[in-house]
Symmetry: D4
Subunit: 249 residues, 8 copies
Amino acid sequence: MNQDLLMRLLQHVASGEVSAEDAARRLQHLSCEDIGYAHIDHHRSLRKGFPEVIFGEGKSAEQIVGIMERMSVQENVILATRVDPLKAQAALSRFPDAQFHAEARMIVWEKNPVPVQGRGAILVLAAGTSDIPVAMEAVITAQAMGNRVDKVIDVGVAGIHRLFRHRELIESATVLIVVAGMEGALPSVVAGMVSRPVIAVPTSVGYGVSLGGLTALFAMLNSCSSNVAVVNIDNGFGAAYVAAMINRL
Amino acid sequence: MNQDLLMRLLQHVASGEVSAEDAARRLQHLSCEDIGYAHIDHHRSLRKGFPEVIFGEGKSAEQIVGIMERMSVQENVILATRVDPLKAQAALSRFPDAQFHAEARMIVWEKNPVPVQGRGAILVLAAGTSDIPVAMEAVITAQAMGNRVDKVIDVGVAGIHRLFRHRELIESATVLIVVAGMEGALPSVVAGMVSRPVIAVPTSVGYGVSLGGLTALFAMLNSCSSNVAVVNIDNGFGAAYVAAMINRL
Amino acid sequence: MNQDLLMRLLQHVASGEVSAEDAARRLQHLSCEDIGYAHIDHHRSLRKGFPEVIFGEGKSAEQIVGIMERMSVQENVILATRVDPLKAQAALSRFPDAQFHAEARMIVWEKNPVPVQGRGAILVLAAGTSDIPVAMEAVITAQAMGNRVDKVIDVGVAGIHRLFRHRELIESATVLIVVAGMEGALPSVVAGMVSRPVIAVPTSVGYGVSLGGLTALFAMLNSCSSNVAVVNIDNGFGAAYVAAMINRL
Amino acid sequence: MNQDLLMRLLQHVASGEVSAEDAARRLQHLSCEDIGYAHIDHHRSLRKGFPEVIFGEGKSAEQIVGIMERMSVQENVILATRVDPLKAQAALSRFPDAQFHAEARMIVWEKNPVPVQGRGAILVLAAGTSDIPVAMEAVITAQAMGNRVDKVIDVGVAGIHRLFRHRELIESATVLIVVAGMEGALPSVVAGMVSRPVIAVPTSVGYGVSLGGLTALFAMLNSCSSNVAVVNIDNGFGAAYVAAMINRL
Amino acid sequence: MNQDLLMRLLQHVASGEVSAEDAARRLQHLSCEDIGYAHIDHHRSLRKGFPEVIFGEGKSAEQIVGIMERMSVQENVILATRVDPLKAQAALSRFPDAQFHAEARMIVWEKNPVPVQGRGAILVLAAGTSDIPVAMEAVITAQAMGNRVDKVIDVGVAGIHRLFRHRELIESATVLIVVAGMEGALPSVVAGMVSRPVIAVPTSVGYGVSLGGLTALFAMLNSCSSNVAVVNIDNGFGAAYVAAMINRL
Amino acid sequence: MNQDLLMRLLQHVASGEVSAEDAARRLQHLSCEDIGYAHIDHHRSLRKGFPEVIFGEGKSAEQIVGIMERMSVQENVILATRVDPLKAQAALSRFPDAQFHAEARMIVWEKNPVPVQGRGAILVLAAGTSDIPVAMEAVITAQAMGNRVDKVIDVGVAGIHRLFRHRELIESATVLIVVAGMEGALPSVVAGMVSRPVIAVPTSVGYGVSLGGLTALFAMLNSCSSNVAVVNIDNGFGAAYVAAMINRL
Amino acid sequence: MNQDLLMRLLQHVASGEVSAEDAARRLQHLSCEDIGYAHIDHHRSLRKGFPEVIFGEGKSAEQIVGIMERMSVQENVILATRVDPLKAQAALSRFPDAQFHAEARMIVWEKNPVPVQGRGAILVLAAGTSDIPVAMEAVITAQAMGNRVDKVIDVGVAGIHRLFRHRELIESATVLIVVAGMEGALPSVVAGMVSRPVIAVPTSVGYGVSLGGLTALFAMLNSCSSNVAVVNIDNGFGAAYVAAMINRL
Amino acid sequence: MNQDLLMRLLQHVASGEVSAEDAARRLQHLSCEDIGYAHIDHHRSLRKGFPEVIFGEGKSAEQIVGIMERMSVQENVILATRVDPLKAQAALSRFPDAQFHAEARMIVWEKNPVPVQGRGAILVLAAGTSDIPVAMEAVITAQAMGNRVDKVIDVGVAGIHRLFRHRELIESATVLIVVAGMEGALPSVVAGMVSRPVIAVPTSVGYGVSLGGLTALFAMLNSCSSNVAVVNIDNGFGAAYVAAMINRL
C-alpha cells in the first residue's frame, strides 16, 4: 500500500463511503501478513516508499506467484529479481500484465505507469559487454522506482578514450552506478571525474583470480577515489535501490 | 583552491588589482603540481568541491608536512587521516593552527571556519564502544566538509531497545552512517527502519572469525535491507565523504 | 535398541521366556556390527538415547537401504538426512512405512509413534522463505526425537516488526533454533530478547560474498549476544539434535 | 538490577519506605543509560538473569572503570573479559574488592558471593596445556554465573587413554565445554562418549595451517558427533555463558 | 621396463640371442619417448621401481589409450587413476585384459600377476562409508604395487569403540593409511595408538565448512600426534605410493 | 585498421582517388564505434599494433558475430578466445574463412596470411598433457600475432631429464612461455636455465589444494628465479600477447 | 620409561631387589600422571619408542621446567621445541646438562648418549639459507631419535646444477626430508630423482603470496612426484619424527 | 664472473700469462661453491648475465657479509635486497665502497661503474607516495643492471589528468614498470596507452580488504589490458630484473 492508496482510503472513511470497521480491517492487513512460507510486509511502501522486492533465488514458482498475489492487493509496482525463465513463465501465465526481462532475469509488474520523479538522472556505466545482465538489473530497477536512467556499455579502462567520449553524460548525472568485473577499476576512474556519489557494482565476470567477483569487489572497496560506496557482487538491484533513495532526497 | 578563491582572483583581474600575467601564473599552479614524492592536485576543490585528503599511513612526517605546505597555498581546509601521534606532533609544530584528534587519528586544519551546508543532518551510529575511533573519523570528516552531524554510540543489536530509544533521530536523518564490527548486523536493522541511504562501515573490532573486519564487511554487503552501500573496513573517512556528497545534492 | 527394548529383553530372561543363551547372542549384536561398508552402532540408542542417523550424501541407495535394514532390527526410529528423491524412492519401495520429506530431503521411519518428551518447546525461526529447507530439517529431526516444535518463517531483521509480532512464542520457548543466510543477523537479535540457549544455523542462501554461507556462519560466531552457539552451514539436523539434548536435560 | 533488588524495591514502595516518586526515578534508570561512549543496559539482569559483561578489548581503562561504576549501582556481579594487566590494575585500584585472574585476563567483582544453582555440573575439558587461558575464562565465567564447575586439562586425542581416565567425570556432567586448538578433534571424541550437549571452543593454539584457530573451528563445526555446538575462537566466556543458560533450564 | 625385463634383455645379448644393435635400439627407447602430447618415461620403473601412472583427469580417452599403448611395450603393470566410466570403456575395449574399478575410478592392467613383496602389511582405515572411493584408490594402488593390504571402513571418532575393536590389526601394520573427511580427526587418534608411520588422506566428504576437504587436510597437518604425514585431498593413490615406498625399504 | 590500411587511404587522398570528405568520414570511424552492447575500438591496431581481441566468455553468439562484423571492416586479423563449440559454429557459418581451434577454444580469422616478424622465436613449454588447451591458446595467439613459435609438451619437474632433452630449444628462444598446473614448479626450473624473460601461465589442472590453479599461480609469483613474470590462471592468450610485445621490441 | 628401564625394573622384582609393591607403585606412575596443567604420558616411550616431546609455544617457563622434571624421572632423552631464548635460559639453569640450540629453538637433554640405530641415513635438504632454522629442527630431532643424519643447504631449483652436485648423497639416503619456502618446488624435483619416501616441509620463508608458507605447503601437496608426503609449515620436528619412524621399520 | 672476466682469463691463458693449471683451478670455482649455509653460484653472471642477488630477509648480518665476500671474488656488481638498517651497517663497515639505499632497503656495491646498455629506457610509475619504497627498489635494481631509468610518482587513477601530463614519457619507454597498491588499477590504464610490455607490481599499501596487497595483485592479474604481466607483492626487484632482461634482448 502506498501513500496514495492510504490517503484515498482515509478520505473514503471521512466521506462515509467506507465504514470505520471496514477500514480498520483493511488497515490491519496493512501491517504484516503471515502466509506460512513468507511474511508479506504491507506497509513497507508506506514506510520505505517502495514495496518489498521478491528475491527469486531459492524460491519455487509457487512461492513467487503466491507472494505476488498477496502483494498485488496493495501495491502498484511489483518486482522480482533473479527469476529463471521457467519460473517467470509460471508467473506471467498467472499475471499476464507483468513483463519478464530475460537478460536481467527480472519480472516487473506495473499496474499503472510509474511517473518519473527524483532530482536528476541516474547513469549506469558498464565496463564490458559481459557485464550487461547486471547493468540491466540496475537500469530496470531504477526505472521501476521512478527515475530517469541513462546507460553506457563497454567503456572499460583499457581504452580510456572510450570513456571520455561520454564525459558530458557522466558529468551531468546526479548519481552514478558503475558496473565492472575483472579488475574492477572503472569506478575509481569515473569517481575521479565527478563530485557525485558513485555506487560501484562488482560483477562475477572474469576467470582465474577474478575469484567470482571478489577481486573486483575488493578493488572497488579500496578505491583511491573517496566518493565510492559498494554493493554485493552482481547486485545491480541493490545499487539501483540505493541510487533511487539518493536521487529522491 | 575553492570556488571562492577562484572568483576573487578573477574579480581582481577584472578590477586591475591583479595583472593578467600574475593571474595566469597563479592559475597554472591550480592544476597539478609535481613535488617529486607527490602530485598536488590544486584544482580538485574546484572539481570535487573538497580538497584532496592526505592518507597518512605509509607517509613520513616530512612528506605529510610537505604536502600540507603546498596545499595550504590554495585551500581553506586540509585534512590528514591515519596520522600517528608522533607524525601529528611534527605537523602541528609546523602548523600550530591545525588540530589533532587523537582518537580518530586525524589532523584538521581549517583556516576559516567551514559553514554548515547540505540538505539535512548526517547521523553516525556505532554498535559498540570499541567502534568509537572509526565513528569519530566519520564525524570529524563530515563536519569538516560542512555538514551537521549527530552521533549515537553503543546501540548494538543484542539489546535492540537501546537502538529504538533513538528512533526519532534515526528517522529524521538525511543520510545515515552505521559503524559496526563483530557480526556487522546493525546496518541491516537500521536500514529497515528508514527510507534513506545508509552507508555501512565495517570495523576491525572483534576476534577469531571476525577476521579483522571481513565478517562485518561481508555481512553488510549481504544485508537483507536494500538501501545499504558499504565502504572498506575502518574507513570512517570514506563513509563521511560519500555521505557529504549525498547530503549536498 | 533403546532402553525399552533392552528392559523387555531382560524381563523376558527373568521370566524364562527367553533363554540366557538367546539373550546373550542378541545382546552381542547390540554392540557394533561390521557390514563391510559400514559399522552399525547398535547400542548407540542406549548410550545416546537416540539411534545413529544416516548421513545420505555420498552413500548409494543400496548402502542406505542396507544400513536401514540392519538398524531396523533394533531401533524404533530411523532417520536419514540429505537423501535425494531418487535414493528416497528406492528406500521407500523397500520400507513402505517410512516417509520422505522432499523439502527437507529426509527419510523418517517411525515404527511406533514417538511420544513427546522434554522440558518444553523448541522454537525454529527462519529469516527468509529460501531458508525453509534447512528449517524443516530441524523441525522434522526435533519432532522425530520426541520434542514439541513450533516454527516461524520469514522474519528477517530488515523488517524487525515482523519478528516482534511473535514475541510471546519467542519468550516461551525452552531452546531456540534460528536459521538465517545472507548476513546472518537474526540470531543476535533473537538471542538479545531471551535468556535461553539459542542454536544458530547459517544457511547457504545468498550470493556473492555470502560465500556459500560462510558469511552468515562467521557473523553468528561473532554474535554480540552471548547466548548463541553455532552449527555447520545448512546443518538443520545438528541444530535439532543439540536442541533435543538440551530440552531433555 | 536483579530480580531480588527489584522485589525489595517494590516491597519498600508497598510498605511506604520508599515513595512512588523515588521508585519511579530509580526504575527509570533500570532501563538503558547513555553515558556517551556506552549504553548501560540496567534491566539486562532482569531480562537475561545475568548482567551485561564488559568486553575489555579496544576499551580504554577509563571506559572500563566508567562502565563498572555505572553497573555497580544495580548489579551484584560484574565481569570484564580480555582485560590486559595494566587496565586491570587501574580497575582494581578503583574497586579493591574486585579480583583479576591474570591467566584468563578477567576481572570478577562479586559484591556478595554467588550461590551455586543449576541442574548439575559443567565440565571444562582442555586438550593441551597451552589451551589453559581459554579454559580458565570458561571456568571463571561459569562459576561467576552460579554453576558448579569441574575441569580436566591436557587430555588431547594423541594419547586417548589420558581422556578415558576421566570417564566418570565426563559421563556425569550436565553440560560439557571442550577446549582445543590444533586439529580440534577432542570435542568429537568426547561428544561420542556422552548424550549431553557439548559446547566446543576452538583456540588459536598452533602454527602454520592452524590458521589462528580457524582449522580447529572448522573441524569442530564438521564434527561427526551431532551433539556439538560451537562458539568463536578463544571464546571461553561465550561457551560458559551458553552452558550456564543450559544448566539453568 | 622393470629390472627383470632389463636383466633378461642383457642376458639375451650375452647369449647372442639378441644382437647388440637390436638391444641398443631397444634400450634407447628405454629413456624418454616424446609422442607429441606426452613424454613416456620408459626407464621410470628402473629408476623408481614402479612405472609412471596415468593421471586420467583432463586427458581424452584417446590420450589415455595412446599412453597405455606406448607404456605396454615395456611395462608389466599399468595404472590409470581418475578415469570416468566412459573413458574406461574406451580403454577396456582396446585392452580387454585390463580391469576397471568403478568405485575407485581406476584402470589396472597387470600383464602378469604382481607378487606380494614388502616388509609387512599396509592397513587402510576409513572414517566413514562415504570415504570408500578414496580408500579403495589406496587399496588398489598398494596391491598393484605388490603389497599385502588390509582395510577397515567406517570407524570414525564419534564412536571410538568401533575403532578399538580393530586394535590388533592396527598395531600389527607396518604402515597405516588413514582416510577421513569432515573434521579429519581419525589419523590423530590412530597415530596415537601406534609407533608406525601414518599417511593421512583428507577427503572432500562433508559440506559447509568442510570446504571441499580443506578442513580435514588442515586438521591432519595440525595433528597433535607427530607420526603423521599428509597427502593432497582425495589422493588415495599418492598415499598408497608413499606407503609402498616405505614398506619396501 | 592497421598501419598499412591507413597509409593506403592517405595515399589515395593524396592522389585524388579518395576525396577528403570520404577519407574524413572513414577516419572518424577509425576511432571508437558504439554499437550498443560494445564499443569497437577501431584505432587499436594503430595504437597497439594488434586489433582488440574478443573475450568470448559471457557473450552471446549474436554479440560475438556482431563484433566480428564491425571489426572486419578495418582489420586483417580477428581473434576470439574462450568460445564454446556452439557459438563457434554460429560464427563460422557467418564467416566461413575463419577457423575454430577446438582444443584452444579460439576463433582465428586471417583475411591475409600474417607474416612472421619479431626478433626470434617464442617457445611454449607445458608441464603436462592436461595443460595442452592452455598451451595451445598461447601457441595460436602468438602465431596469429606474427611470431615464430615452438612447443614442447609434458616436461614436468618430476622427471627432470625429460626437460633437459630440450635444452637447446630452451636456450635459443627469445621469450619463453611456461605453462603448468599442480605445484607450478616448471617456470622456476626453466627460468634458472636461461637469461631470457619467462612468462609463466598457471593452469587450473589439479585437484584438492591446487585450488583451481591458485597454488600454481602463487608458486610462480614466489619463484626463486627472478626472470619470471606471471599472468592469470589459464590465460594462455595473455601470455602470448605479452610475449609478442617483447619479441617485437 | 623406555623398554630398557622397564626390563631392568622387572628383573629387579624377579631378583627380589625391588618388592612387588614398590614395582607396582612405580609402574602405576608409568601410565599417565596428572600434574594439573599437564598429563605426563609416562608409558609413551614404551608405546611409541620415543618420549613425548614438549611443544614450547604457549607454555610458560615454569610449565616447561615442571614437565621436564616429571619426565626426567623415567626418560633418557627429553626434547622441547619452539622454546624462546628466555625460557631456555630458565630451563638450562635448572637442568645444566641440557643443551639449547638457538637456531632451531630446541632444548635437548640426553642423560646418556643416544646410540645410532635405523636402517640407513636420513638426508635433510634445504632450498635456501633462510630455511636453515627449520632444517636444523629436523636435523637435531632426527639425531636425538638415534638416526644418522646428513644435510645439504641452499640447493633451490633456480640453479638446479647446485642440487645435482649432491646426487650421490641424495640417491643413497633411506628417507629424505626436503625443506623449502617460497614456491616449494624442491621436493618435486628431489622426489623425481629417487625411489625413497620424501617428507616435505614447507617453510614460512617468503613474502607477498608466499602467504606465510601456505603456497609452499599447497605446492608440495600438489607435487607431480608421487613419493611425497607433507607436514605442517615450519614443522621440522614432525618431519624428522615421521622419518625416524620410517628409518626404524 | 662476468663475460669480460672470463674473456680476459682465457686471453691470459692464450698469452701464457696464466698457466692452464691456474686457470683450471680458477674456473672450477666458477661453478658452485658450498660455504655451509649457502651455495655461491659463481657462473651465474656468465649464464644469466647478472650475478645472483642476495635476498636479505631471514639471513643474519654474518650470512649476508659472508656471501658478499665470496661473490666479490668474481663479480663486479653485488646487490642485496630487503636489508634492514642494522644489517646494512654491518655490511657497509666491512665493504665501505658499498652503498645502502634506506628507502629501498638495498645494498648496491659496484666495484666499477656499470655502463648503460639496453634497447631503450625503463619507466617506473608509482600510483601513490606510499608506493615509493617498492618503486625505488625497481629503480635501483634496473640501474645496477645497466639500464636507463625514468620515474614518475603519485599518478593514481583517481585524478587521471595527473597521469596524462606524462604521456610523452610513457609512450617513449621500451618497458614500463607500474607500481600500485589499494585497487591496483594503474597498470590497466597505462597498458591501454602503449603497445609495450608492462610489468605490474602490486604493493601492500592499503588497509582492510587491500589484504596486504592481494587485492592489487589479483586486480592486476585480471587486467582488461592484455600487455600486462605481474610479479609478487612488493617485488620491485623482480619487476626490474624481468624488465632488464627484456630491455637487453
